[in-house]
Amino acid sequence: MRKVIVVTHAGLASGFKQTIEEMIGGQPHLYFKEYDSTQPLDDFLQQVEALVRASDADAEALILTDLFGATPQNVALIAAKSSTVAVLVLSGINLAMILAAVNEMAQAKDLQDWAARVISAGQSGIMNVTELLD
């Protein structure tokens, strides 16, 4: 069993949740958690750790974070390090990455392969499209 956990600053993860639900409906293995700066950091860490832990023993998790080096990613890295299941943390999340993470969840041969597919989808979706419909 695999799962995806989206961890961001306040606003973004819940925005993603709304958009994903409108586009493809609710997803059973997709979780969202966001960091509000008024919240104690330890509470936030415990919540992310609980999402990583709450699974079968053989589960693998991909944590998608918004910004390299910022609090959500740092907390995700700590949660990944203390996890007994395999976890990879990616940064720079966009919509294409979440869709790819969901679509490739079952097909990817291992966690590393899954992460590579998600990164590739995220990066290839970034372009100047101004002249694309000419």
């Binding site: 973004l12 709304q18 586009m23 966001e34 990944a80 990879l88 966009n94 970034i126 499209v129 419909l133």
Partner: protein, 143 residues
């Protein structure tokens, strides 16, 4: 100053704007729009045109869209084309993420910055901001 508009299905654009404001505070000439279930393509285009016109003070506008090939993308590109005839300079960039928007807001305050030099740097930041952090963990695991 170059205007910045975020457009997505549902609340992703508004959520991204909120996260940007948590990190970088409130910014002028910065708006987010949702393509809601009750919207038609025409009503979305009307919202984009109105926002783009409000945001353009002569330096042009960057419209960030959520996904390549979907409705917010289509509507934005059509609006950009229409505004071009009215001498508004608009660029539409797909695959928006937090690093791209933060970089844009940081760079657009530079003196004499222009859309044509700004947008390639934004695309690069967006792409390089997508990475795996495992190497980062192993490099820091001894700390």
């Amino acid at each position: 100053m170059i205007g910045v508009l975020l457009v997505s299905h549902s609340d992703y654009a508004k959520g991204l704007k909120k996260s940007v404001e948590m990190i970088a505070g409130n910014n002028e000439q910065f708006q987010a729009l949702a393509f809601d279930e009750e919207d038609s393509l025409d009503s979305l285009k009307a919202k984009i045109l109105l926002s783009a016109l409000q945001l353009d003070t002569g330096a042009g506008v960057i419209i960030f869209v959520d996904l390549l090939g979907a409705t917010p993308f289509n509507a934005s590109v059509v609006c950009a084309k229409q505004l071009e005839y009215e001498k508004h300079d608009i660029r539409v960039l797909s695959g928006m993420n937090l690093p791209m928007v933060l970089e844009t807001l940081g760079q657009r305050i530079q003196p004499n910055i222009e859309l044509d030099t700004l947008y390639p740097a934004i695309l690069k930041i967006g792409t390089s901001g997508i990475q795996e952090a495992r190497q980062y963990i192993s490099e820091n695991s001894s700390c």
